[in-house]
Symmetry: C2
Subunit: 351 residues, 2 copies
């Protein structure tokens, strides 16, 4: 007996004196053979250490792998540590799991050859927050071949899952402006042409088409500003390239360390992560929230609601977003554009 080679379906068939088709049927179509023979085949398989049809061969033959790829805009390392991306993945995983599929993680930051190489194995794609400028989509399968669902960005001709960023940001800004701030400011996420963690001029430096979410959110803010006769150009804006405490901290410190008469007393942040960093650094400096400084976030991550002051924020259900995207890609629900509702969460950071 040849030692090292893996037992195959053919080996098993030969050993049992039946055809390979019958063994295959024993595993895949119980109704195609007698229960007795099936039982016999299965027990012999176990005895000979055959663990069932090989996924590589099966997927080649059937064209299906039961693998769904999630393509993430950022590096996997980053995405896995980001609460929102993790929640999205959770939702995706939950649905895939329940339907016998597994999850392949790809990053838009990977070398295109790799993405392309492994991507042809997936039955479908969920693409998350990709910057169109990445051009990665050229590497992905042609539309119509295998399902693709875009999350948090627009991709022509493809179904998308979004939240109502603009009205949500209008609502939270309107709430915040009820108490008129003397010096409102915005802390932004990823909107610039060139990586930049610093103050930016309100209008320049913006990307023209990318990052549609951020632009929609800004539009919401501006609408509320207009109602209070605040000139958007007069509202300073800082930018942060990566949604991590480490990257946020220096920028936030710069803001909080401004002289009293320049320091903003209302910070509209594009994410809870940023807002939490503001809270932490403000505490360290003895600034009281909300008395000295009011802060709003976006996302509604759990961490923002555990401890005082609870964040005032917009809660989006990222888990549900993931679930919907997964169901669409599996064909369990119609693949049409979906806009999820958000919820204004009024916490203590901006009552």
């Amino acid at each position: 007996m040849p030692t090292s080679r893996r037992t195959t379906l053919k080996d098993l068939a030969r050993e049992l004196g039946v055809s390979t088709a019958t063994v295959s049927n024993a595993f895949n179509r119980p109704d195609q053979l007698s229960p007795k023979l099936r039982e016999h085949i299965l027990s012999e398989a176990r005895r000979l250490g055959y663990r069932g049809p090989d996924a590589k061969a099966r997927s080649l033959r059937t064209g299906r792998s039961r693998i769904i790829a999630v393509v993430l805009a950022e590096s996997l390392t980053y995405s896995l540590n980001d609460a929102v991306a993790s929640e999205l993945l959770s939702g995706v995983a939950e649905v895939l799991d329940a339907h016998g599929h597994t999850l392949l993680l790809l990053s838009g930051r990977q070398h295109e050859a790799q993405v392309n190489g492994s991507s042809s194995i997936a039955d479908g794609f969920i693409v998350y927050g990709l910057m169109p400028s990445l051009m990665l989509l050229e590497e992905l399968p042609l539309p119509g071949q295998r399902p693709l669902v875009a999350v948090d960005f627009d991709l022509e001709g493809q179904p998308t899952v979004h939240v109502d960023d603009e009205p949500a940001c209008y609502a939270i800004a309107r709430h915040a402006l009820k108490t008129p701030p003397r010096r409102p400011a915005v802390i932004n996420l990823r909107l610039t042409k060139h990586p930049c963690n610093a103050r930016i001029a309100s209008d320049q430096e913006l990307l023209p088409a990318d990052r549609t979410i951020t632009r929609a959110r800004l539009a919401g803010f501006h609408q509320a500003f207009a109602e209070h006769a605040i000139d958007p150009a007069s509202v300073p804006m800082w930018n942060i390239e990566e949604n991590t405490h480490e990257v946020c901290a220096p920028v936030v410190a710069e803001i909080l360390d401004l002289p009293d008469e320049e320091r903003p007393d209302l910070l509209l942040c594009m994410s809870d992560r940023i807002a939490l960093t503001v809270v932490t650094l403000a505490e360290q400096r003895g600034l009281r929230i909300p008395e000295d400084l009011r802060v709003t976030g976006f996302d509604g991550i759990a961490e923002g609601q555990y401890r005082a002051p609870r964040l005032t924020t917009v809660r989006q259900d990222s888990v549900e977003k993931g679930r919907i995207a997964a169901r669409m890609v599996l064909g369990l629900e119609p693949a049409e554009p979906r806009l999820l509702r958000t919820e204004l969460l009024i916490g203590d950071s901006c009552p």
Copy 2:
């Protein structure tokens, strides 16, 4: 021209009037054909919408998929939201990424057929914190076939990556006991035979072999207890089945709501997540930390260090654990047992 079918290497070869081998070589072995022809093939491929060799067929033929599977003990939904598991995945992803591999996520909680079905596609496995009792390993490929690295648990005959749980817990307990507590207690993670979020008798209910980490940690605590003549049996122990705020909160509330003379004044927690829940709920009840209650954690997650009181904890480098496991499974470093050092982090929750 037949419309819908995907262009294959064979189509391309026919179109170009060359053999399939040559086209294959154009993609895989540039040195096997003239640069001129290669260029021609590549440009025609682009023109005809051929995106390179199909991963399914390639992996069947070569036996390699450039996919590494990470098998997680818990559900994916849980694991993706757990800071420690996420960090591990980060580390794994970082290395795989750098070496042109991708990450397939499997859960030990999935139906075995699924795990087995998709698992045969992976080139190697990283198994994280699996309970041996799950017996999942029977479903995984035989040792010696494809590399397998166990993280945070022992698996006979397989390389493992661990941290020094026992000495670490000895060290943190010894530190905590320097200020003699009147009523020390332990909050445990997953050690019971039957799911249980409640107080447990110190000795019964323990799993005999599973969860070797937790047992090692307890051993470390007990060693420190012994030095202070504390009878381990006199130290109450609560148990928590899942490392989430939601599951922790009721148990922690139960502890903190004990009458003053019964409430522990030192809580040794098996994870930072638990410790953070203690901090949050203690704050809500007006209990001062560390004056009224001292708390220690384990893991050293970032969230525990952002805000006051910073947790006293054992920092383990889960990212590095992931990196090492990934390098082992890729054969970039010898697949031998590794024991990583931890670091005692003295914060404000137990100075």
